[in-house]
Each structure stands twice: as C-alpha cells, then as structure tokens.
C-alpha cells in the first residue's frame, strides 16, 4: 500500500513537471521565434594577372591587372507561428582593381581615371523553409555599380524534397537589367566625346534572363550528387565599347558582337566521403552557346581531414573552349566581317587552375575566439594556353 501511494505521488509529480511552464528564456521554441543571428562570412581576395593579348588594344599589349575584393554576408533566421524557417541574407561586396590595359582607352594620359575602378555590389535575400512539407521558397534583389557599368538583379527560387528526403528538385528564375556606359577608345569617340551631356556618357542596356533547374540526390550515407541545367538569354549591347579591333587594312574599330546570346550550361557535382578522413569533391560542366562556344570544365578537389578540425584541400580544374564565330587576332578581320572581336577570352584555348587551401574549425573557435567558427585560406595559379597567367589568394572567416 505504501509502495502504491509513493508510486501515485511520483506519477503526480512527474505529470506536474511535464506540464509546468518553463522559464521562457530556456524554452527553445520561444527563442527560435526571435530573429536570431545565424552566421556571417567575410571573404577577402587578392588577384593579379598578366598576359599579352589585351582586348583594349586589339588583342596585343599587356593584360596586367590586379584586384582586391572584400565581401561580407550575414544571415539571420526566424521561425514563424507555423514552424516555418525564415532566413534573411544581406551581403555587400567591394572590389577595387587597377588595370594597365584599361589605361590604354586613352593612352595620351599618363595615368587616366580608367586605370582603376571600384565596384560595389550589395544584395538582399529571403528564403522560407517548411521542414514538414520539405519545400523552400525564396527571393532576392541585387545591385552592382562601377564607373562604366550598372546592374539591377532579381531572383525567385523554389525547392521541394522527395517524401523520403533523399532527393530535392529546385528551380530558379533570375534577371539582370544592366546599363553599359559607352566609353569608346579615345580615337574612336564622336565629336562630343560620346557624352550625353557635359557630365555623363551615354549608356545602353544589356538584359539577361536565366532559368535553372536542379536535382540533388543522396546515393548512400557517403555519397551525394547534384545535376544543374541553366538556360540563359542575353539581349542588348553584349560587347564592350572600349575593345578595339584592328582590321587587315590597319583601320581600327570598336568590337561588334550580336545583340543576343543563348547559353546552355549543364553541370554535375558529386561528393564522396572515403573512410573518415578524405572527401572527394568533383564538378563537371558542359556548355554550349549560339555564338559558337563549346566548352568543358572539370574540377577535382580532395579534402584531407588531418584532424577533425583541420583539413587541407588540394584542387585542380581543367577548362577547354572553342572560339566564338566572330573572333580573329590582331589585323586578321576584314571589312566583310559583320561581327568582329579580338577579345582572347572568346578565343579557342585551354586553361589549368590548381592550388591548395586549408581550413581550421576548432570547437572552441579559431584562436580560442568562440565567435570565429572557421578560418580558410586558399591559393590558386591559373594558366591559359594563350599565355595569360594569374594568381589568387583568398581568405574566408566564418562567424557564428
């Protein structure tokens, strides 16, 4: 009887404690409804390149360029009353570059304003994930401004997981409304210098619309892959006004390219965890467009986890493309050509990109600073068969 009495008391206390109201501060569901800082990323890079096929000087001359870029993104999350997760992303990036070839737009100046420029590109985004239904919807806006280029962008996206959560279908629509400032090479400028008025150069539109479809699939507990297919349509002024083209008769012209372009890239990405310490990351893309470019790109990375918190990642990327139908080198175009360019980025070439990076993500934070979740540094060397070489070093700090 005593045992029964004690059991009833214990059950009562148990039930009471199960239904008692907890401290709101310790109630996780209550906390999640507040807007919560999720993570922030700082990415800084230094890039430099050199070569002898600048499009500004008609496919000859220095391509020397250096660029410092910094961007920071920050994500906040919040759960609504129906348990849906809202993520809010804000990002701002600033690139500053100096370019020897841009300085040749007006070679009569010792160092013109065009030898350096700064690009600023803020963006905002929102996604809403319904974990019960396995759906995600999102939207975003972006802006980019540099001296001779301005862009407004918008996107919407949708994703749906399969019932067993092993696969996910995704779709994205993206659009950019851009304005190219018409700064011609000095010797090809109209009488008023190409200016709309005393202070402004004339501009012309370039619009891009893209639709992307994706599928991600978990194959087993070590292996997953994704497929992505894009279709991109661009329309408007698709060349750059300061790219010179020298014809066989030694006359000089501004690059002239068609006013529309259809691009179709298809990509596959596969990641495999081998044992407990090695991850193989691979990516392949086939690309085709209606200007005549056929291209293949393959990237392989091996992540070696030397400890659970420290990894080293050597990587290699091979790229190959055919030339656009409108490309010819310096003094090879003729007056019968309707479209013409001497931009070697649109010529036939192969390229190799290789390097390595390391990542530190200790549980008590980088340098024992708990808010710095990880630090990653990566170096790469890029070589084109046209003779262009470049180097890039990047840093990523993740804050949580």
């Amino acid at each position: 009887m005593k045992k029964l009495f004690l059991s009833v008391i214990a059950m009562y206390v148990g039930i009471l404690s199960a239904f008692s109201q907890g401290n709101p501060d310790s109630d996780s569901a209550y906390k999640k409804r507040k807007l919560t800082f999720q993570e922030a990323n700082l990415v800084s890079s230094y890039y430099n390149q050199n070569g002898n096929n600048s499009a500004v000087t008609g496919g000859i001359g220095t391509e020397k360029l250096s660029d410092i870029s910094n961007s920071i993104d920050i994500t906040f999350t919040k759960y609504d009353r129906r348990g849906r997760k809202h993520s809010f992303l804000g990002e701002i990036g600033v690139d500053h570059y100096t370019s020897a070839s841009s300085d040749k737009i007006d070679p009569h100046t010792i160092s013109s304003a065009s030898h350096a420029d700064t690009r600023i590109y803020p963006s905002v985004g929102w996604t809403m994930e319904n974990e019960q239904k396995g759906t995600t919807v999102g939207a975003g806006l972006s802006y980019s401004q540099e001296f001779d280029y301005q862009s407004f962008g918008a996107k919407v996206n949708f994703a749906k997981k399969t019932n067993n959560k092993m696969g996910e279908f995704s779709a994205k629509l993206q659009g950019y409304l851009d304005q190219v400032t018409l700064i011609y090479p000095i010797e090809l400028r109209p009488a008023n210098g190409g200016r709309r008025d005393e202070n402004n150069y004339a501009t012309t539109p370039r619009n891009s619309l893209s639709a992307s479809l994706g599928w991600t699939q978990i194959i087993n507990k070590n292996f997953q892959l994704s497929l992505e297919a894009d279709i991109i349509y661009q329309q408007g002024y698709l060349g750059l006004p300061f790219h010179r083209v020298y014809f066989a008769d030694q006359s000089v012209h501004v690059e002239n390219l068609p006013s529309s372009r259809l691009k179709i890239p298809l990509g596959i990405r596969a990641n495999y965890f081998i044992g407990d310490k090695i991850i193989l990351r691979s990516w392949y893309r086939y690309y085709k467009d209606d200007w005549g470019i056929n291209s293949n790109a393959l990237q392989l990375e091996t992540v070696v986890k030397l400890t659970p918190f420290f990894s080293v990642t050597p990587f290699y990327r091979f790229y190959q493309q055919s030339a656009v139908n409108y490309f010819a080198p310096y003094e090879m175009h003729t007056a019968s050509d309707k479209y013409f360019t001497s931009n070697y980025d649109l010529s036939k070439f192969n390229s190799d990109f290789f390097g390595a990076g390391f990542r530190i993500a200790p549980p008590d934070g980088v340098f024992k600073i708990s808010h710095i979740a990880s630090l990653e540094i990566r170096y790469g060397h890029y070589h084109k068969t046209t003779g262009m070489n470049s180097n890039i070093i990047s840093l990523n700090l993740k804050f949580k």
Partner: protein
C-alpha cells in the same frame, strides 16, 4: 569521318546515361542519424564560399559560365 564522330558522340552519351542510371538506381535510404558525413561542411553540394572571387574572375576570363549555382551572365561587365 563525320559518321565516326557521330558514333563516338552516341557512345559517349550512352555511357553517361548508363552510368547515371546505375548510380541513381543504387540509392539507399539514409536515416537522419546516418547523415553525419553528408552534413559535413565540406560535403556541401555547391561551390565553397572561398571560391567566390575565383568564380568571378573565371566568368570574366572565360567564354562559358553557369551551372555552378553562381553567376550565369549579367550583373557585371563580364562575358
């Protein structure tokens, strides 16, 4: 020569399709508690944050772009 090229293309596509079907057919259901490796930060099925500037310079220096979750064209003075 053209016939040989077409045959090569057909075989190449067939091998790709058969490989994909074989891989997709070998899918096994993975429970949430078995996803610790799949959820590793470096198993993410997208380009890494640190690749941001690399992808940017590649879109300027190469004629092809897209199918990597990033830029597809537009938004910059790139190709």
């Amino acid at each position: 020569m053209i016939r040989f090229k077409l045959l090569f293309k057909f075989r190449y596509s067939l091998i790709t399709i058969i490989t994909l079907l074989t891989v997709l057919n070998s899918c096994t259901t993975v429970k949430e508690y078995q996803k610790n490796k799949l959820n590793d930060a470096e198993m993410n099925l997208s380009s890494r944050k640190i690749e941001k500037t690399e992808l940017n310079f590649q879109s300027y220096r190469e004629g092809a772009s897209g199918a990597n979750g990033g830029k597809t064209g537009g938004g910059c003075g790139c190709n």
